[in-house]
Symmetry: D2
Subunit: 165 residues, 4 copies
């Protein structure tokens, strides 16, 4: 049975406390929906917080790692996918997620938001600056929503998944 994968992207080392708290709650909420959480897999920032959140409620976490081994992998990853492709793995993060959630904004996150727009993946933004949200709206050809809470994020993911089917 094909499982539903939801990706959470966001800053690594530069993530703020609020972004990490939101990511943790998002990871929990995604796991409670019985969706699989997909992240970039590293032991830092939004990736790590979301993974720990999902793990805290026995969710399943896939980490798509940039390196060739498990160095610096989040301890909350259940299934490490080792790509050895550096930032090239960002494309895989986007293609493999049914819905992409960007929580906060770093340079890598911006590349993933842009790839989601390019590859026409449904996109949920949270803690993303208004100027970026507006610019993305101009480039978006498919559904893109800007949300303020984890509850609304989950509701929007449900709507976006239903629309894909």
């Amino acid at each position: 049975m094909i499982r539903k994968l939801v990706g959470i992207m966001g800053p690594g080392e530069t993530a703020s406390t609020v972004e990490k708290e939101t990511a943790y709650a998002l990871g929990q909420a995604i796991a409670k929906q019985d969706w699989i959480l997909l992240t970039g897999g590293r032991a830092t920032g939004v990736m790590d917080a979301a993974s720990r959140g999902a793990q805290s409620v026995n969710g399943l976490v896939i980490g798509i790692l940039p390196g060739e081994n498990r160095t610096a992998m989040s301890a909350a990853v259940d299934i490490p996918i080792l790509t050895g492709m550096g930032s090239g793995r960002n494309v895989i993060n986007i293609l493999s997620s049914e819905v992409v959630v960007a929580c906060g904004l770093g340079a890598g996150t911006l590349s993933e938001i842009a790839l989601a727009l390019k590859l026409q993946k449904p996109l949920v933004l949270i803690h993303v600056p208004d100027a970026v949200v507006e610019q993305c709206r101009l480039l978006a050809k498919v559904a893109m929503v800007d949300v303020a809470t984890v509850e609304v994020a989950i509701a929007q993911i449900q709507v976006l998944m239903a629309a894909e089917e």
Copy 2:
């Protein structure tokens, strides 16, 4: 908790009946060990047979697909990882598998065997021509075993995993 991933590689459209039967039995046996099966994800040959075998006993199957969408994906894949990287995904297959099993030999399989040797991944060969096995032995820097049955394959994977820990 980090799950153990075992990759099964082998011919697609050109796979023989025996290779597909072995792949089906390998997929079953891998799932019964509570390992996750990783394949190239397409709906053909060894990939598909192994995935159906694992599915038949409620195993979990990850398909690392060459394309950007689910076209031609095996119906037995639970977790599709869409790479959009064509044969570039073969590297991901190898890096992500704790042990790589090659069942039969096609050109793509040969590239995966060679990458396993290059990236020093433990390798189990079954239904691979003797001349190829001998050549690989000359290139192998880590454990590589040639087996004749599914039972021995599973026993060897257990040994190789234990040695990695």
Copy 3:
């Protein structure tokens, strides 16, 4: 002798006439500096216009193509690098350019700007909306300049290259 590569990134099918005219002039000016032009290689938009500009003055043009063959390649590409990696090739565009020029803004271009910021490549922006320039400035750890003319772009590339040495 290591040649200097300058990458020009920009919208494909959605490029405006002004963006394409600027790209053509940039391609010419880059070739006149005896730099090699690097683009995404497709026969459309900024990529194609820049390549034709370079070709018009006998410059050398490298196209880093997303596909596995030359379908839809710009006729002005001298050296096709076929990646078969879709948008994964955007990373190669950025890593291989000594200086990256973004001319105009599409979703793919935004991903390349973001990757340049992430991978700390010197970046020149032209015809990029102010809101995006400002956001990028917040994320930039290395030199990033916003210019209005081809002449200033070339002068800035010279400065950025000198700083790298």
Copy 4:
């Protein structure tokens, strides 16, 4: 004008003196034909020797590097293409070469030979063990020739290129 690219693949650190001498002569001969030499770009073995050979007669050398920077790059590379994709760059080596020459055999070389067979690229083998040549012949769907001298290699590349047109 589209330039013709010929790729030379072969062992790195494990290359023999004879393999390196042949690679040097091949690089020279390829450059004299006004073809561009494409290699894996590292400062070792067959890659480095072929690049130095081409450089000795003012040929143009493209290095498709596995890393994100020029660390360990051959000093004879003119145009570094930085992929950051590790062994994933082997696919790019093969796709971008009009004809692939394998000189000697390492694990990485074997993966490139196999990818050439998979992606149906014309293939010239030199200093490759007979058992491997025979196995490859069974898997080859397009032209594959086994040669003993640089002169015959060049003649065969000419034939293979003419057949492609």
